[in-house]
Symmetry: C2
Subunit: 321 residues, 2 copies
């Protein structure tokens, strides 16, 4: 088992597409082997540069990510793309579209593309995305692009994993910049004004710059606005240059280190939670007892705090308090 995991890890490090794909499936299914594999791969990670791309539906995220990926490939960089859709356990259309779109790269071994949906994750999508990023990092992808479908809080949590967050806007979406999803302004390191050949682009850029001028620069970085027409490959070089420039700034200001420590703090807490929960409920009859207690609480025979204390007691975790 451990021997085969070592083998598997080696193949991942060599960029073997099937080994990577199998590892992602293991991560998605919470297989014990995934943890062993990630533990083995972990020392090989920390080299990839993660760029998160978010924005409302219709801003052209997929096209932009596609062009950006092609740009990096032309420079001989290895690229990984993770397209994430946290909107629904039932959805799949957008993801399917991505797959079709990306087929042009299917024969390029320097490019790995994977879609991830919520199915079965129950909020663990950010965790799974983080683990797949580590995997692609270990597999030697220098550029990892994380693309989300929408701009919900989950998407924000996911792109926050990235070293550099690109927020996309387009002119004439009917919604004024004033209605821009709160929270997006705060997380954007770079703003892309896509479909910049459309009417209203100048006005949107002005509005955006006016709003950005009110935002305090973070560690000396003023988020710039880059104009693109992704469908015509315009502005992609400038965007890649800006992303690279942010990376250098991010590194030299010490912000990269600070952000990574913060990220790992959160991840350790999550891991800790899932370990402890496993211990509290993982024993024989744990799940069944939980269901019984939930029923008693729903019927007001017991209050939730007493119910939890019971679980803690019976799992032997009630030692100290």
């Amino acid at each position: 088992m451990s021997q085969s995991t070592e083998n598997w890890a080696e193949r991942v490090c060599l960029g073997d597409v099937r080994a990577i794909a199998r590892a992602i499936t293991a991560i998605e299914n919470h297989e014990a082997a995934a943890e062993e594999l990630l533990r083995r791969l972990f020392p090989r990670t920390g080299k990839a540069y993660l760029t998160g791309v978010t924005g409302a539906p219709g801003t052209g995220k997929s096209t932009l990510v596609d062009r950006l990926a092609a740009h990096y490939r032309a420079k001989q960089e290895q690229v990984g793309v993770i397209a994430v859709d946290p909107t629904s356990p039932y959805s799949g259309g957008a993801i399917l579209g991505d797959r079709i779109r990306m087929q042009g790269h299917a024969s390029d071994s320097g490019m790995f593309i994977r879609s991830m949906a919520t199915r079965g994750f129950l909020g663990g999508l950010a965790r799974a995305t983080a683990e797949v990023s580590l995997l692609l990092d270990a597999a030697g992808k220098q550029q990892v692009l994380i693309e989300t479908v929408g701009v919900g809080q989950d998407e924000i949590d996911i792109v926050r994993l990235a070293d550099c967050v690109v927020v996309m806007l387009v002119p004439g979406m009917g919604d004024d910049i004033q209605n821009m999803k709160a929270g997006l302004m705060e997380i954007g390191d770079i703003f892309v004004l896509n479909k910049a050949d459309r009417e209203g682009a100048d006005r949107l850029e002005q509005q955006l710059n006016a709003m950005l001028s009110l935002v305090m620069p973070r560690d000396g970085w003023h988020p710039p606005v880059v104009r693109t027409v992704a469908s015509e490959n315009k502005g992609i070089d400038a965007l890649a240059e800006t992303i690279g420039r942010f990376g250098k700034h991010f590194e030299s200001s010490g912000e990269r280190k600070r952000k990574h420590v913060e990220h790992w703090k959160e991840r350790l807490i999550e891991l800790l939670e899932s370990r402890l929960l496993q211990r509290a409920l993982g024993g024989a009859g744990g799940e069944g007892r939980l269901a019984e207690l939930a029923e008693e609480v729903a019927e007001r025979k017991k209050d939730p705090f007493s119910a939890v204390n019971e679980i803690l007691k019976s799992s032997g975790l009630n030692g100290m308090t």
Copy 2:
């Protein structure tokens, strides 16, 4: 302390506005007293009917909730309104707007209105909303209306707390129903077509009904479409009637019980997690040790799984595995 909590609980049950407001603040601030209070109040809960109202910004949620509240008040029912904004820790504009809007009810003791934002909750907003719902339930509010600002995953998690979920749409939002946030279709028990006097209302209703006809009825309930012009108080009676009808169906089909047990299962797990985390990290130096370990992991001196095992060991929670 316990004596004064008993007093406090009694005043909440009598509907004392200041006692309720103080309890909400205690919940928001994770005060230990909040738990003692909720434990005491718990047997008095389970009577309120919770209606969640969600929909894109601009669909008129606030106005509709306002009118619905007035409708229930006219029928001598006690009403609680919770307006939730999970979009940003920084926001507050919409919330402030709600407060101003609701001032008309300020002198009505049968109506309690509270806004809640993400500030300091870090994902705990659904939990806090659930606890405030319990509180208003204990305070004798027969109708509790939970209104969200947007339609992100967090909002969906929040309205899922409710017994009845109302999803709002308006004609001519620029976005076709095809672009409707995935996940909304699945959670709606009732769809409200607001601003139904606008152009495009008939077409939207047709589209909506066509889509709903594809959705499997849940326990024999086909989500109906109710047309309203909330700003002119049109359709509110019909909506209230439909909400009431759903409630009866929900009760008699056994779905209410099933949903409540499911809800309590999730809540017990959350409570369990926070208890265990408190135990693992709450000791002297726990937070500091976590920060140190996160730094070692960020520098790849240690893998995250080993780091978590260290925390478990040092907190004495590593007993069994």
